[in-house]
Amino acid sequence: MEWIGRYVSSIVEVPTPFWWKVSIAITTPLMLVCFFCLTYLVATGIGVWGNNSPVNWAWDITNFVFWIGIGHAGTLISAILFITRQRWRTSINRAAEAMTLFAVICAGLYPMLHVGRVWMVWFLAPVPNANAIWQNFRSPLLWDVFAVSTYFTVSVLFWYTGLIPDLATLRDRAKSKIAKLSYGLAALGWRGGNRQWRNYEMAYLLLAGLSTPLVLSVHSVVSFDFATSVVPGWHTTIFPPYFVAGAVFGGFAMVLTLMIPMSYIYPSLKHLITPEHIDKMCKIILFTGSLVGYAYLMELFIAWYGGNFFERAAFYNRAFGPYWWCYWSMKFCNVVAPQIFWFPSMRRNLWVIMVTCMLVNAGMWFERFVIIGTTLARDFMPSAWGMFHPTWVDIWTFVGTFGLFLTLFLLFIRFLPMICMFEVKAVLPEADPHYHGKGTSHKEAH
């Protein structure tokens, strides 16, 4: 049992590895590019982004929905798979939850800066603004403020609560004074007494139970931003489930994109992140990808069957209008590419999985752009049509958010336990109070 602590803790205890220094030397400048672009945006004005009438919600909202969707797999793994007692989740949930937090941080930047004058972002808070006007509490945009801020807060709480016993492990193993002090402070004096575990397990179960409806609600509320409008192509009831399925789909692809290189860099984790985990995640990608494919087809069918002229035109424009290549890229990446996971041998081939997940990552970005960009570019009146062209600030802000995301993730794997040690210990056979076998523990098996 002690080997788990040794394997996982050694990652944060060894001297900084060379690959880590190289990686952070690449991601940190990218992160600074993002900060530079945002500073330039705030100093100059929102016009440095390419969004303009009619495409007022362009890359900023596309990227907001893209990033927030990525976060959803983390919450799904940590909450829904916990409640459904899927024990295989225990070795991936910590990293996936961290990914959620960092993705939501990237997502949150966009709507905050999209308001234009970022110093007035407090107008979103439920207090009367500078003109003594209250918010419209019936607006999905305000619901979104509550949904996203609650999601971030609860994700932080869930993640930190899960970390407490493992921080105690790092505290007890720490050699240097600084490590002992910092992990000791973060562990809050955890002792692992059963009188503590009793409340702790209840808290964890309740957080999982609360996060489950929360994660479903967040992307539903995000989809309401579109679905409650009258814009053809947005005004559809399929949006909430369609968005949630897409979020889980894209999020799992991102989890695999991060986990596969991790298990390559840290071979000691191969006992914890096994081919079985990867196989199960591929199946979830296949399933949710097919759900997304069904939603695409159903959208098309209803556009035709509904008989609304503008709705039909909107979908015709998506497929054959000026942004046709985005639409077909989306179709290929999200619907066709994951079908390769029907073959068990492909679910074991890490290169195939990596390429497919990259396609899905790209495809989910295209999906959000197709929904937002192409829909707004051509709505009712041809005289009001227009094209969207991203500026260099648009492009580098988006590239920079990947720098921010990866920098935070690299810091996480360097300083915090990447795998939830106490949960992995709890699912070992010798953790069972009725286990009396000797010599068959996992340690000997390896």
């Binding site: 049992m1 002690e2 602590g5 439920p126 009367p128 003594a132 006007i133 209250w134 918010q135 419209n136 509490f137 019936r138 305000l142 619901w143 509550f146 609650t150 807060t153 609860v154 709480l157 869930f158 930190y160 609560t161 016993p165 492990t169 007890d172 193993r173 004096g189 955890w190 002792r191 692992g192 007494g193 059963n194 009188r195 503590q196 575990w197 009793r198 409340n199 702790y200 397990e201 209840m202 808290a203 309740l206 957080l207 609360l210 996060s211 409806p213 929360l214 609600s217 509320v221 040690m421 106490f422 210990k425 709890a426 010798e430 953790a431 069972d432 109070p433 009725h434 286990y435 009396h436």
Partner: protein, 189 residues
């Protein structure tokens, strides 16, 4: 018997180590049957069924969280309904602000229920567990640092009315304990 901490200070508890979760479980059942009240077992992970073995009921936390969620629901309803209907009625798209507009507040009410419940769950857990705290007498025992790796421990406090140094020690010995140690309080407590 070994001694941990400063032996000139008052005793805190008699503690012992066990070699496995199963042994700790059976020891807990024995301690429970002797009628001890101020004692605890320590393990690197929550042991399934230990609450029954220790004679503990369900955690009080779920009731606190229900109250937290209720507070969130009332806050959400007040936060949306009072400004919209009383302080600043805002007519958007000709839709009136009345009783029937309450469903439009559900998303915000729902989010606040989740937010308040989650905050109650985490802070309630910390308060019920007496955390955070700087130090604890158990940490005076060097061996206790194994608790977060693979160590299983049991400690019976001296303030327990059933506590008797000789008999408590015998009880632990009979339960198969190793490294029975008297742990002393800290100077600042």
């Amino acid at each position: 018997m070994e001694i941990a901490g400063n032996s000139e200070l008052p005793s805190y508890a008699i503690a012992a180590q066990f070699s496995s979760a199963a042994e700790l479980y059976h020891a807990a059942e024995k301690v429970r049957d002797q009628g001890y009240r101020f004692w605890d077992v320590f393990s690197p992970f929550p042991i399934h069924g230990m609450d029954q073995a220790m004679g503990l009921g369900r955690s009080f936390l779920s009731k606190l969280v229900f109250l937290g969620g209720l507070t969130g629901a009332l806050t959400g309803l007040g936060l949306t309904w009072i400004p919209s209907s009383i302080l600043y009625p805002l007519i958007v798209q000709g839709k009136p602000v009345d009783f029937f507009s309450i469903p439009a507040y559900f998303p915000i009410i729902f989010e606040l229920v989740i937010l308040f419940s989650a905050l109650t769950a985490v802070y309630g857990m910390l308060i019920l567990n007496g955390l955070p705290r700087w130090h604890h007498p158990m940490f005076n025992w060097d061996r206790f640092s194994q608790v977060s790796a693979d160590g299983f421990f049991l400690a019976i406090e001296v303030r327990d009315p059933t506590f008797d140094e000789r008999r408590t020690r015998e009880l632990l010995e009979n339960a198969g304990a190793q490294h029975i140690t008297m742990i002393h309080e800290d100077s600042d407590l």
